[in-house]
């Protein structure tokens, strides 16, 4: 068995939205960095635009990780360099000001992220989706919303040179999406960082003031030990708590693994007389934020027939009829800023896997109902013939009549939901009694060990969180360098 020892200044565990920015910013400043990633590098040349098969290659557990609860919620996680940014829709929102203010007032998180946001956005190439790439699926919603006078707009995304391939969630085949593997890990490597793939970290052994030890099992059966002055844990919201708990770290407050929020999301479908070809254009290119103040966002979701088939809430002959009309069928999503909180623990399997407990709150079920009712109004205004919503007991809506939906008594178990934004399981806060890491993302009471991923985000922001996570990671990197994040006009690499 191969045993390997690495000595470095900073060891970053995980190459997703949190770990990658830390590794790049430190490496670019001349710090010796080792970045450990469990999955592989994925070559865009192997991305074949077929969701069914790409999900097996790019997602952890084939994209089938689900919560235990009412209802079960599938939580797809990316696996490989770039983490879930490899398979997300690329949507970029800054953390809303009101959310930052609430975190400051309630949790003592005085995070001024302005310069970090700007730096992240320049690094990953954030720009608004042009109308020409938005796809007919989105334009129908834009037109319907405009007729009703609703607030909405084209989304901002990190996909420079996008050609509208329509499969962002299954690996961008043109390499246009600037996931953090491309925008941060590659530059980190160019700046001298050691990138190790196939490394499943089993334990972090914290030694007082350091150096700390990180132990990993390699995909080839070998062992890796990394000795580092500082360790940044960035395995993601569902995996970081298990590693910390196994390492005997971060558990003092009793909050580790708790406070899980998900931004549960679901998609409805509508049939039109015109050809939509929802797989042409950017799948998530438009949003309607009319109900954002109530925790309800409408965001595009679209894809090839197999993806659409999975989310069409029908079966048998009725499902077949809709699928034969796939070219005239539209899809759109509703995402909820959830009230419910779940937890994550580790199952005693080999390798260990997360056990995620989460019950959708009744209030969140009502938010879905309101969101779908608004979406139905928009689609009717855009000329839809029929609408199928993923709420059990609600029949297919016809003739512009949403009353079967609005009159329904929707229980949590009636909602068919997925979730793409797990957050909060090692939440940040000023008070060590109620949080796992401090405002500086250092583990309370442990010197030199930090967390930088969605787990530190203390509550759901109500918008896609990748920029929030990247900005916090950038802030951490510059704090470790002992200086503030450069102002937006300064060069990205010194």
């Amino acid at each position: 068995m191969t045993r390997r020892l690495l000595r470095t200044e900073v060891c970053v565990i995980g190459s997703g939205a949190g770990g990658a920015p830390v590794a790049k910013e430190l490496a670019a400043a001349g710090v010796r960095v080792a970045l450990l990633e469990e999955g592989p590098w994925h070559d865009p040349a192997t991305f074949d635009r077929r969701p069914r098969d790409m999900a097996l290659a790019l997602y952890r557990d084939g994209g089938q990780l689900a919560t235990l609860g009412d209802p079960p919620v599938v939580v797809p996680l990316g696996r490989g360099i770039g983490g879930t940014t490899l398979v997300n829709s690329g949507t970029c929102f800054r953390t809303p000001e009101a959310v930052l203010a609430r975190w400051r007032d309630e949790l003592g998180l005085d995070w001024d992220l302005e310069d970090c946001f700007a730096r992240v956005e320049r690094t990953i190439g954030v720009a608004e989706v042009p109308e020409a790439l938005a796809g007919r699926n989105a334009l129908l919603v834009r037109d319907g919303a405009a007729r009703l006078g609703l607030s909405g707009g084209f989304l901002r995304r990190n996909a420079t040179g996008c050609r509208g391939s329509g499969v962002c969630a299954f690996g961008c085949p043109t390499g246009a999406k600037r996931h953090v593997g491309a925008s941060y890990v590659e530059p980190a490597r160019a700046a001298g960082a050691t990138i190790v793939t196939g490394a499943r970290v089993t334990r972090v052994v914290a030694h007082g003031a350091g150096p700390h030890e990180v132990r990993a099992r390699m995909a080839d059966g070998g062992r890796l030990r990394v000795l580092a002055e500082r360790v940044v844990v960035a395995c993601g919201t569902l995996l970081t708590p298990a590693l910390l708990r196994r390492s005997g770290l971060g558990g003092a407050s009793g909050q580790l693994g708790r406070n899980l929020s998900l931004h549960p999301a679901s998609a409805a479908r509508a049939r039109f007389d015109e050809v939509v070809d929802q797989w042409r254009g950017v799948p998530q290119s438009y949003y309607v934020d009319e109900l954002a103040g109530d925790g309800i966002m409408l965001e595009g979701i679209a894809g090839p027939p197999d993806q659409a088939a999975m989310s069409t809430p029908l079966s048998g002959a009725a499902h077949r009829e809709w699928m034969l009309d796939a070219r005239r069928t539209a899809s759109f999503g509703v995402m909820v800023c959830d009230s419910a909180r779940g937890s994550v623990r580790e199952m005693p399997t080999r390798p260990a896997r997360p056990l995620v407990r989460y019950d959708l709150h009744a209030e969140d079920a009502r938010r879905f109902q309101r969101g779908f009712a608004l979406l139905a109004d928009i689609w009717w205004a855009a000329g839809a013939r029929e609408i199928a919503v993923p709420l059990a007991g609600v029949p297919v809506l016809r003739d512009g009549d949403s009353s079967p939906l609005t009159r329904a008594r929707v229980r949590p178990r009636d909602v068919a939901a997925m979730a793409f934004h797990p957050l909060g399981t090692a939440r940040a806060g000023a008070d060590p009694a109620t949080s796992v890491v401090g405002p500086d993302l250092a583990l309370h009471g442990v010197e030199g060990v930090y967390v930088a991923d969605g787990s530190v985000v203390p509550a759901p922001p109500g918008v896609n969180p990748q920029v929030t996570i990247m900005a916090l990671a950038t802030r951490l990197a510059f704090a470790l360098l002992g200086r503030a994040c450069p102002a937006s006009y300064e060069p990205l690499i010194a």
Partner: protein, 92 residues
């Protein structure tokens, strides 16, 4: 999957998809092979649950909330066949 499980998967796919012309029967697609790969890729608990539900559903027994997961998987596997995707207008 075992031979029995593959036969059960074929029946579940026919039930969930109900293919009729112009759609090909499930047996003329790679849906069962895809189903097998999907189950193998899932977490151990999912594998156990889905395999049990597969056999129960194929035997006409109620399977409760797992029904939704089985249907989704069947839809994904059948409509992910390259020929079916082309027939529906998707040619990557």
């Amino acid at each position: 999957m075992t031979r029995i499980e593959r036969a059960a998967a074929a029946r579940v796919i026919e039930w969930a998809v109900a293919p009729a012309p112009p759609l090909p029967p499930g047996g003329e697609t790679d849906a069962v092979a895809a189903f097998s790969r999907q189950i193998a890729a899932g977490p151990p608990l999912n594998r156990l649950g889905l395999r049990a539900a597969l056999l129960a559903r194929a035997a006409g027994l109620p399977v409760g909330p797992v029904d939704r997961a089985l249907q989704s998987l069947a839809h994904l596997c059948y409509y992910g066949d390259a020929g079916v995707m082309r027939l529906l207008g998707y040619a990557p």
